[in-house]
């Protein structure tokens, strides 16, 4: 972390660092309009974090929405036919509700997307940038990886209905082994598979600790393939010494996501600050070919992260009255400001202002 102007807020510092990080890996800035046609979101509602969307009617009668999400807009505008990858980063405000907020919030997001004919290097580069994004904000962080191919590979062996699979995925996401056990009993899942599901739910640790466990579990081509990919990505990243963990309770919607999915955490923040994954399925649903992976950093969460509140609003409160010439006040202000202190000139003491010292112009 390099030292930055202390007058910048935590989230502003983070944005500057992230932008330069993404640029240094050749990602180009993607600037988009604040609005999109509502239609774009209706067709992919469950991809969105919350289904509520702020809408308004444009002057030509079209129903428009304030962006609740950035990824969909980027995919919509992906050019096809090029063999090169599209690598873009963004820094945008989105508008959405959350279950705990009672109403819409403006959420500051930064992130990147890598779209096209993905290969293992491209995937691991995105994970590396996710780890380095977290690292640029805090020395202590964790990046949890999961692979949906591995999870669905196991679930597909159970031969259950879609609704039952969704239920099990929910329990996996809550690490709720007693519910997994009960549901497996209800659906007649074999004890061996039940055992595996419970183990998968509770697995948590570094790749070195967890990968051997996964090897014991892997059965069938889908799981084997996912494991091989996960292994390769972890070994590509291992020289960086990043704080990676494997955790299969990260269960993104498999209608959109397919391969690697991940979440980033900082100590002291109650929820994940970074979320991402490979979403080929979403791309295909929107009629595009190829693969895509990306992530978003929720910068609004940083408002309460780490930084202590400033003890003072201003170093010097400079009081003067009407009888004093403006030139004299100006000279005094310039002198204090020039000495490196902040100064506020007032005729009376403002209520609620916290200052280190008060001086008077005579």
């Amino acid at each position: 972390m390099t030292a930055m102007d202390p007058s910048l807020k935590h989230e502003e510092q983070a944005i500057l660092r992230l932008r330069s990080l993404y640029r240094s890996y050749g990602y180009t800035h993607y600037k988009m309009s604040k609005f999109e046609e509502y239609d774009l979101y209706v067709r992919n509602k469950s991809f969105l974090v919350s289904e509520n969307i702020l809408t308004f009617t444009d002057t030509d009668g079209k129903l428009m929405a304030l962006k609740p999400d950035v990824t969909l807009s980027i995919i919509k505008n992906v050019k096809e036919g090029s063999t090169a990858l599209e690598k873009v980063y963004y820094n945008e405000n989105v508008y959405r509700t959350s279950p705990t907020s009672h109403g819409f919030q403006e959420i500051m997001q930064a992130g990147l997307e890598c779209i096209g004919d993905l290969d293992l290097y491209a995937i691991s580069e995105v994970v590396l940038l996710a780890a380095r994004s977290l690292e640029s904000i805090s020395e202590a962080y964790l990046l949890d990886l999961s692979h949906l191919g591995f999870v669905t590979g196991l679930l597909n062996q159970l031969g259950l209905r879609e609704s039952a699979l969704r239920e099990l995925l929910g329990y996996l996401g809550a690490k709720n082994t007693s519910a997994i056990t009960a549901a497996c009993g209800r659906y007649g899942v074999s004890p061996q598979h039940r055992e595996q599901l419970c183990r998968l739910a509770l697995l948590y640790g570094t790749p070195e600790e967890v990968l051997p466990e996964l090897k014991k579990m892997a059965a069938g081509p889908q799981m084997e393939r996912a494991l091989a990919e996960l292994k390769e990505i972890c070994s590509l990243l291992s020289p960086g010494g990043y704080c990676l963990r494997l955790d299969f309770s990260i269960v993104n919607d498999k209608n959109y996501y397919n391969g690697l999915v991940f979440r980033g955490f900082l100590p002291g923040l109650p929820s994940s600050i970074l979320a991402g994954g490979q979403y080929d399925n979403l791309l295909h649903r929107m009629g595009k070919r190829g693969g895509a992976i990306g992530f978003a950093v929720y910068l609004d969460l940083l408002e309460r992260f780490g930084g202590e509140e400033l003890a003072y609003d201003v170093d010097v409160l400079l009081l003067y009255d009407r009888g004093i010439s403006p030139a004299k006040v100006a000279a005094e202000v310039a002198a204090i400001e020039g000495s490196g202190q902040s100064v506020r000139a007032e005729r009376t003491i403002p209520a609620g202002l916290k200052y280190r010292q008060v001086r008077e112009v005579r």
Binding site: T100, K175, T177, Y204, D247, P270
Partner: protein, 212 residues
């Protein structure tokens, strides 16, 4: 070692839960004192307990003010907090029921009026039956609603059924069995992995012993 912040539900269940934690080796003697304090610490064992309103436990845990907590399954179903549900403690067992006057006869040709403290659970249950309902959200004394004709049925927690019986009501259907669960904040689980999983192991061991 980092302190583990534990939110316990105020009341009888909370005291029972604390005894379990104590038996598992997470004692905090100051909690036994007769006083109005809300936070109790035992630095040696690395635990800090606090009493909160039972329906608020999930909020404390979800927002990370508590690392772990104990909440009834009813609360978890109703508020759907984004937390890990690590253990069924098997305490505070009861069930979420539909109850009505003994004389009540359900008729499918009318919208059913349902009084409850748990609108989400009631809605989910009746929508699974494709039944049109009118939810009346109340905050207490739910049993009164069918007696006064405010509602046709109630959806509420039934432990022994004694309150229902004394008010001439009876349980008609069980929606879901309820018991106390150990929940954990998703981020605390990761950063305090050793502490949380050790607690979980100890409690799980005790619960299994008690079951036998």
């Amino acid at each position: 070692m980092e302190m583990l912040n534990i939110a316990l539900p105020k009341g009888r269940l909370g005291e029972q839960v604390y005894r379990l934690f104590e038996a598992a080796g997470y004692e905090c003697p100051s909690i036994r004192g007769e006083n109005r304090r809300l936070i109790f610490e035992n630095e040696e064992r690395g635990v800090r307990y606090f009493w909160v309103k039972p329906s608020d436990v999930a909020i404390y845990v979800e927002r990370g003010a508590a690392d772990v907590g104990v909440a009834g399954k009813d609360i978890l179903l109703e508020y759907q907090p984004d937390v890990y549900e690590l253990l069924d403690l098997g305490m505070g067992r009861c069930r979420m029921c539909v109850a009505a006057k003994k004389t009540f006869r359900d008729s499918m040709d009318r919208t059913l009026r349902v009084a409850t403290k748990f609108p989400r659970i009631a809605k989910a249950y009746y929508s699974s039956l494709s039944r049109e309902i009118d939810i009346i959200k109340l905050h207490g004394s739910i049993e009164l609603a069918p007696i006064l004709g405010l509602s046709d049925v109630i959806v509420d927690i039934v432990e022994t059924g004694k309150t229902l019986l004394e008010n001439d009501l009876e349980p008609k259907d069980t929606i879901v069995p309820i018991s106390a669960r150990l929940i954990a904040n998703k981020v605390s689980y990761k950063f305090k992995y050793e502490e949380v999983t050790a607690l979980c192991r100890c409690l799980d061991g005790l619960c299994r012993e008690q079951d036998q």
